[in-house]
Symmetry: C2
Subunit: 418 residues, 2 copies
Amino acid sequence: MSALEAEMMEIGRRARAAAHALRLSSPEARTATIEAMAHRLRTQAGAIATINAGDVEAATRKLPNAQIDRLRFDTQGIEAVADGVAAIARQPDPVDAVLAEWTRPNGLRIERIRTPIGVIGMIFESRPNVAADAGALAIRSGNAVILRGGSESAATNAAIIETLRTALRERGLPEDAIQGVPTSDRAAVGMMLAGLDGAIDVIVPRGGKSLVARVQNEARVPVFAHLEGICHTYVHADADPAKAKAIAVNAKMRRVSVCGATETLLIDKAVADALLPPISIALHEAGCQLRGDGAAQAIIPMDAATEEDWSTEYLAPILSVRVVDGIAEAIAHIARYGSQHTEAIITENAAAAERFLREVDSAIVVHNASTQFADGGEFGFGGEIGIATGRLHARGPVGAEQLTTFKYVVRGDGQTRP
Amino acid sequence: MSALEAEMMEIGRRARAAAHALRLSSPEARTATIEAMAHRLRTQAGAIATINAGDVEAATRKLPNAQIDRLRFDTQGIEAVADGVAAIARQPDPVDAVLAEWTRPNGLRIERIRTPIGVIGMIFESRPNVAADAGALAIRSGNAVILRGGSESAATNAAIIETLRTALRERGLPEDAIQGVPTSDRAAVGMMLAGLDGAIDVIVPRGGKSLVARVQNEARVPVFAHLEGICHTYVHADADPAKAKAIAVNAKMRRVSVCGATETLLIDKAVADALLPPISIALHEAGCQLRGDGAAQAIIPMDAATEEDWSTEYLAPILSVRVVDGIAEAIAHIARYGSQHTEAIITENAAAAERFLREVDSAIVVHNASTQFADGGEFGFGGEIGIATGRLHARGPVGAEQLTTFKYVVRGDGQTRP
């Protein structure tokens, strides 16, 4: 066994022991600890920002500007993250909630009780806020977490993790509920994907498509993730023109780099002549480049979309546009090209809206609002550890509640089974 | 692509299309179809039993008696399965239930709605009732199912599947919601474990430990399963002697081959002298062989248990017995040797019971009742497709409700995200 392997197995054992203690801790202790995390992040903001400046400085020689921006974590950013952590402290504690209870004819009383999953393995790139969000959500849900961040932000992540661990110690919870993993050796990631000898219950990757694809392909434990968000906004024949324009621009352009950004605009043939020009102009004015099918190009000049465009997550100010012949064609397009992440319909027609919401098989379906609301904070979860497009256990934004499982508690008075 | 591979991929495509139709079918259509399944199983009972007699006849030359018994499916057995299917028809339909709903400060209304998982792959050995139970539960939960049974019961399974498909056709649901897979080529199992090119969402294995281990090791899709049920019954210091004796005998001996059978009896030092002799005698009279630790052997003669016994699932009339020094030692023994399936405490002491129920981290924890209640039917689920000891999505008996996932439905009136 290599030194790294021995170190990783020890991290796994410590996480498992901490998870055991967390599972049996009180909701009050968990709340107080998360509050202490928010407090310590605020009091340490200057120190963390200074350490982060070192990471940023070292990275400017190696990384493109977009990645540098993601790496940056100044006192303002740290304050915002502390606010998020404080919001998670105010969330209802999900552990030990009675999800269902019933009594059997033989008198057995059965309860389904929410319990923590155990140990979460988090593998993320660059953006340092992930460490604080994941740590707070793990404690809220009674889990331990093992964090493996990008090497570019190693010092920043280490400082954040140490801040969170101090809060755990301060409130009497085991500091090993939050552990960092050495970033110097990429082999650590492979060991996490193998589950650290049964110590990791679920892996959550956060980062680019290649990271998520690697995790999905190699992990021997369950994964909560989305490979990509090819999200659609469908402007129905009965769309309100002003809502359609405002939502289309926001869904694409508010932030182009998030997974809930709309990548394809579907517009109904019945209103394309009337609505596509003003929507296109508004998008163009916001800095968006359009790529349309033949019907869209016939209405207003834009680049041609190829077959590949329909299955492309641009994460850039580019939008593919297709004119569809009715709601069935819109739903069929989404079923064929979508990634089951988030899709919206814009319409004043209640029956059409209900049909879309029912028939589209995505984690999040939206009526008359922006797809960019696909976010744990916007859903009221206090935060999110990621967004999942898989169908099992967690789907959509993964907050504290989705980081729990359940067990059955059966109470009898001597029953034996006939 | 081999002919088998082409056939399997076609089965996957058909299942996916059927799942789409099932997801959008009405609860009434699903109920009527399951009722028709129960009816058709009854009217076809004679024909199926005759076909089964052929399977049994062919197997007698190849298989040991215990396996022949599992294979047998006479009219009485078929009637019992039809009763089970009818019970599943009476279960509340889980699909489209609103699991939670709330409104955000910006006016967005969010609902979490139960939806089917999609396509279930079922790999099972011999026991032919599994095909009918799995088919009925799949339809109840709006899913399609692909069934791969043992080759010994191929003709029986094919007859059952055809009966269920007839009921689907009769009620206007796609018959491909229930499909069988050729059993002549074992490569079909490997293809299912690879997910049939994304057509299978979850695999449920039912059978011996080697089958389950293979599925858990090789599957590239999520698995609902238990590798083994090393279940414990702990006789606490404040146990009622009569309950302790009755439950211990039932938990071990009612049926020794089920996963909820107790494999280890833990008995508290404080009452071992008084209670172990009568419990041992009752077990012995029921045909059970005991293997004890030194303390147990000092109280009443029995074979010696080795370290290996504590982690052995006998599935036989053998019970390991250990004297423990209090509840903490009992819980620690279970944490070390158990399989997180089902554990029971026998006590009249409410505080001890609550501690055990809370601290033991198993799918099912039981107070003053037999571990053999670990069963979907006994839980009131109408039936079960299996029992899961994994921590994600489904845990414990897997009924129709656990074969669903959820999606978020977001309703707005023009909201864009700031």
